[in-house]
């Protein structure tokens, strides 16, 4: 059987893995470190990639997820959103981006993971379902609820949105 090289075209993969990692732990050097480590491991364990099980991006995101989960919790940094009064001459777009990042950082880890997988790594609901070992429908519902909580977090900055008991995992 001909072996498929999952890292043949690394540039778009780097961007998407970084997008996922940055939504999970925040934009910056830590995200760069995790992204680099993800690719180092991918190179080391390249033989473990099985194209039958999924695309290279899903495989890389799996490595990145395990790296993030294996990190010491003290390294977790919350994104600080500057007050509007201090923002003065900052453009609305930048402010909005920071508000969005801040809101994502205040979400519960599960919601944050879903948001990062869907909008950071740009995986489809089906790919996320495979990664999380869930049904596609369950992922769509969970994503819908995570977006709802994110919206609430944007509208009411400060208090972290609380997940109701009995909602999807």
């Amino acid at each position: 059987m001909l072996r498929v090289d999952p890292l043949r075209n690394p540039e778009p993969l780097i961007r998407r893995v970084y997008g996922y990692v940055a939504y999970r732990i925040g934009d910056g050097p830590d995200a760069e470190d995790i992204t680099s480590e993800t690719f180092e491991r991918a190179l080391r364990y390249q033989k473990s990639f099985d194209p039958q099980k999924g695309e290279p991006l899903a495989w890389l995101i799996g490595i990145a997820r395990r790296l993030i989960e294996g990190r010491p919790p003290t390294l977790e940094l919350a994104i600080e959103v500057p007050d509007h009064s201090d923002a003065g001459d900052l453009e609305d777009v930048t402010l909005r981006r920071l508000a969005l990042s801040g809101a994502v950082s205040r979400l519960e880890p599960r919601d944050r993971d879903l948001i990062a997988l869907r909008y950071g790594a740009d995986l489809t609901a089906r790919q996320i379902a495979e990664e999380l070992d869930l049904r596609t429908n369950a992922v769509e519902v969970a994503l819908h609820r995570a977006l709802g909580r994110l919206r609430a977090a944007i509208e009411e900055p400060g208090d972290p949105p609380v997940r109701k008991q009995g909602t999807a995992r």
Binding site: E11, Y18, T35, L100, Y119
Partner: protein, 127 residues
């Protein structure tokens, strides 16, 4: 509601954190380098397996025995050459020897056998 949700999704995609170009280039270079070195090791492994295959094919037709004999002979010859360069070389067969006929072969004298038993002793003087 639907409109709001779509806006939020669009925003999340549009405002996705982006790595710096410098970081991307650096990591991309490292990945490409890593892939190249892996390809190199694959080539070495391929050459090794090819050599092993050739050896196996030779062994199946007795080529290895032939090769080892040839090597042994070569070693012996080399030893002879090296040995003769030290000390005095004695030429046993040469035209000059033929000219003077065959050299006389000295007969070895047989060593006298010693009398067995007691050693002979002069009788005592009685006169």
């Amino acid at each position: 509601m639907r409109h709001k949700r779509t806006n939020l999704e669009t925003e999340l995609r549009a405002n996705r954190p982006r790595p710096s170009d410098e970081f991307v280039n650096r990591l991309e270079g490292r990945v490409r380098e890593g892939r190249r070195s892996r390809a190199g090791s694959f080539r070495v492994a391929f050459a090794g397996s090819l050599a092993a295959g050739v050896l196996a094919a030779l062994a199946s037709v007795g080529g290895l025995g032939y090769a080892s004999n040839a090597t042994g002979e070569a070693v012996q010859k080399a030893k002879r050459v090296v040995k003769s360069s030290h000390g005095t070389a004695v030429v046993r067969k040469s035209p000059s020897r033929d000219q003077y006929g065959k050299p006389k072969v000295k007969k070895k004298k047989k060593a006298k056998k010693k009398a067995k038993g007691r050693a002979f002793a002069r009788p005592p003087f009685t006169g």
